[in-house]
């Protein structure tokens, strides 16, 4: 069975059609990359999949792990194992990172009928995960993403992913604004998660992340459609030729 099956997906924002018939199948264990010019609809696709308000699905279907994705609320999709690593992680003053992560993890546990973790159990788990990512403890005590550098924010996204252990990780431009060290840490975090049951959909404008996160398939999204698919060599090719042939200057 496929993990994610997108069929002829159409979606609009404020009445403007952005996705114009996307088809994509991800099977367990696979890493897919979606590349494409700016404005192609890459972020839109990630938001439509994760359930952000304001995006209207006007046609097609998406099945996630055998379930109709659009029957699920955003939080239910997350609990079912979908994870979006944001292109621009959101700052939330007044909630510490620890509290945020604890609510997230316990929401998922509760959804699956598992006992919620108490403070101590949770902190232990979180510490072990954050250590792997080389995150200092004070980042856990600070309010969510507030005052974090670009690299710290992406590291924080990776930590959330490590804790929530999603079946499918959607990475939206996770590499943008990172230095090489942070890029490596994030890629290692994603690689650690890879398993025969899990999938990754990595959205990126540049090829560099794919050096670390070697994809099984590469797709080009342009003007709301997947216009070309191939293996990792397609990414290398695109790096040289750019996206000009797909109708964009970017």
């Amino acid at each position: 069975m496929s993990l994610l099956e997108i069929k002829d997906l159409h979606a609009t924002i404020h009445g403007k059609e952005i996705l114009k018939g996307v088809n994509l199948t991800i099977r367990p264990g696979e890493v897919h990359a979606i590349m494409g010019p700016n404005g192609a609809g890459k972020s839109t696709l990630s938001y439509v999949l994760s359930g952000r308000e304001g995006y209207e699905v006007t046609g097609g279907s998406v099945t996630f792990d055998g379930k109709d994705l659009f029957e699920l609320e955003a939080n239910e999709r997350a609990c079912e194992g979908l994870f979006l690593a944001f292109q621009y992680p959101v700052e939330i003053p007044g909630i510490t990172n620890t509290t945020f992560l604890k609510h997230a993890l316990n929401a998922k546990r509760k959804y699956h009928g598992e006992a919620e973790l108490d403070g101590l159990e949770f902190v232990k788990l979180m510490r072990s995960k954050s250590k792997e990512l080389g995150m200092p403890d004070d980042m856990l005590k600070r309010p969510v993403n507030v005052g974090f550098s670009g690299g710290e924010k992406k590291r924080n996204e990776t930590l959330q992913m490590a804790l929530l252990e999603p079946k499918l990780a959607l990475l939206d431009e996770t590499d943008s604004g990172l230095d090489i060290d942070a890029l490596r840490v994030v890629a290692e975090g994603v690689n650690r998660l890879r398993s025969p049951e899990r999938g990754v959909l990595c959205i990126t404008h540049y090829q560099r992340l794919l050096d670390y996160l070697v994809p099984d398939f590469v797709h080009v999204l342009a003007e709301g459609k997947i216009v070309k698919s191939g293996d990792k060599n397609l990414a290398l090719e695109l790096e040289k030729t750019g996206y000009a042939e797909f109708g964009s200057a970017a």
Partner: protein, 437 residues
């Protein structure tokens, strides 16, 4: 003058000879003077500039009884809603000192803490020039009304250089039985040079079916380099309204760290009037409020920088839900020659419903040249992106909203400098909003 139609004079007829301390001549004279001033001014209406956004009309037709000592309420124990902290506890029920529920404990040398009525009775003359030193009964009807009924409240006096370790916990319980009740407590707080104290003021409603109106005046005098932490937690019942006037006279180098957390009540107005009379004073009048259902929370502040080089800060955050209403009026006044003044005001409101309302009016009035003053006010709804971020991590919408509302208020609570009380106020917020953030 024609028959007075007034909820606080009409019901029981004003009779100063029946009030406590009637034997003290200056007291009786002052009460009568104040009663006349109140009659002249009348209960504030929206026609007054200062009261444009807060309407006391609802109180006009209530048949209030005056809380008296005879109207005794025996409560076996403090209600659970009263925070439990290690402190010198002094309890007032409807403004009247309750020795049974109080636990003042051992006081350090140089500290006088107790019932104001008892203190005046013991030494009436020493209070003649203290009470109303900072209150103008011709300018404030409610302060005049408070003076007309002046009887009891907290009396705190710290000698020079005395530092109190434990906080003072002033517990104000509002109890309404079968009758609507009004009371007019007066708190007198004086810190000598270099003295330091912390006051937690808990306002808790015990029973809520009938209306109540608490009309308190607190006079605070800070000597040179004195330090007062003053934290107010308001959890009145839904039918309880309250007005509180706090006056602060701050001498050179004194520090006042104030925070008000308004969570309950019906019509609540906290008014602070601060005169900075010495350089390098550092005054913080901060707070947060959560006006849900039909609550009305009004914060009115005036800080007068009368001398150079002093500092004031007023940061308030409010959440307005349902038909809640918030008012924030703050004026920073900088006197001629008060150069080097640093005066900051900031109000932020979060509106959760179409029927909620906020009126914010921050003002600066500056007559000095070299000052650092700023004011700001924002209001808006919950941030959709923050909401989506939480939901995308598995947190359901209702909980995500509650977390964000709390986060908004927690941020304000972090201004409290006293760490134990800061934690307590965080916990109170969680208690009301039902999430742990």
């Amino acid at each position: 003058m024609s028959e007075v139609i007034d909820p606080f004079l009409r019901g029981f007829g004003y009779s100063p000879v029946d009030l406590p301390l009637a034997q003290v001549e200056w007291m009786t004279n002052r009460r009568i003077e104040a009663k006349n001033a109140y009659e002249r001014l009348g209960l504030p209406t929206n026609r007054l500039e200062d009261w444009k956004f807060t309407n006391l009309k609802k109180l006009r037709n209530v048949d209030f009884s005056l809380a008296t000592k005879d109207f005794s309420i025996s409560m076996a124990a403090l209600p659970k809603a009263v925070p439990n902290i290690d402190a010198h506890r002094i309890v007032f029920v409807n403004g009247i000192f309750d020795a049974e529920l109080s636990a003042i404990g051992e006081l350090p040398n140089g500290v006088k803490l107790g019932s104001l009525a008892e203190a005046i009775e013991a030494d009436p003359d020493s209070f003649e020039n203290v009470l109303n030193a900072s209150v103008d009964i011709d300018a404030s009807a409610l302060a005049a009304l408070n003076t007309a009924y002046l009887a009891d409240g907290l009396y705190l006096e710290l000698d020079r250089a005395v530092m109190m370790e434990k906080p003072i916990h002033l517990v104000s319980l509002t109890y309404t039985g079968d009758e609507a009740v009004s009371f007019h407590p007066r708190h007198s707080i004086r810190l000598g040079d270099g003295a330091a104290a912390t006051i937690l003021e808990s306002h808790v409603g015990v029973s809520g079916e009938m209306q109540s109106f608490g009309n308190a005046v607190s006079e605070i005098q800070l000597g040179r380099d004195a330090n007062l932490g003053h934290y107010i937690l308001q959890k009145e019942a839904d039918h309880s309204s309250a007005y509180g006037l706090t006056t602060i006279k701050a001498d050179k180098g004194s520090v006042y760290d104030g925070f008000t957390l308004n969570l309950g009540g019906e019509i609540i107005r906290n008014e602070t009037l601060c005169d900075i009379d010495g350089e390098h004073a550092d005054i913080r009048i901060n707070g947060a409020y959560h006006a849900d259902v039909k609550r009305h929370h009004d914060t009115t502040i005036r800080v007068n920088h009368n001398v150079p080089n002093s500092k004031s800060l007023a940061v308030f955050k409010g959440v307005l839900g349902d038909q809640g209403r918030g008012v924030f009026q703050a004026k920073t006044y900088v006197e001629r020659g008060a150069d080097g003044t640093d005066g900051q005001q900031l109000h932020k409101a979060l509106l959760l419903s179409d029927k909620a309302e906020i009126n914010a009016k921050p003002e600066l009035e500056i007559y000095a040249d070299d000052v650092k003053c700023a004011h700001g006010s924002t209001s808006g709804a919950l941030d959709q992106m923050q909401l989506f971020y939480l939901e995308s991590r598995g947190i359901d919408e209702e909980r995500a909203r509650a977390l964000l509302v709390q986060a908004f208020l927690h941020e304000a609570v972090d201004h409290i400098r006293h760490s134990e009380i800061c934690e307590l106020f965080h916990a109170e917020l969680e208690d009301k909003l039902g999430e742990s953030a």
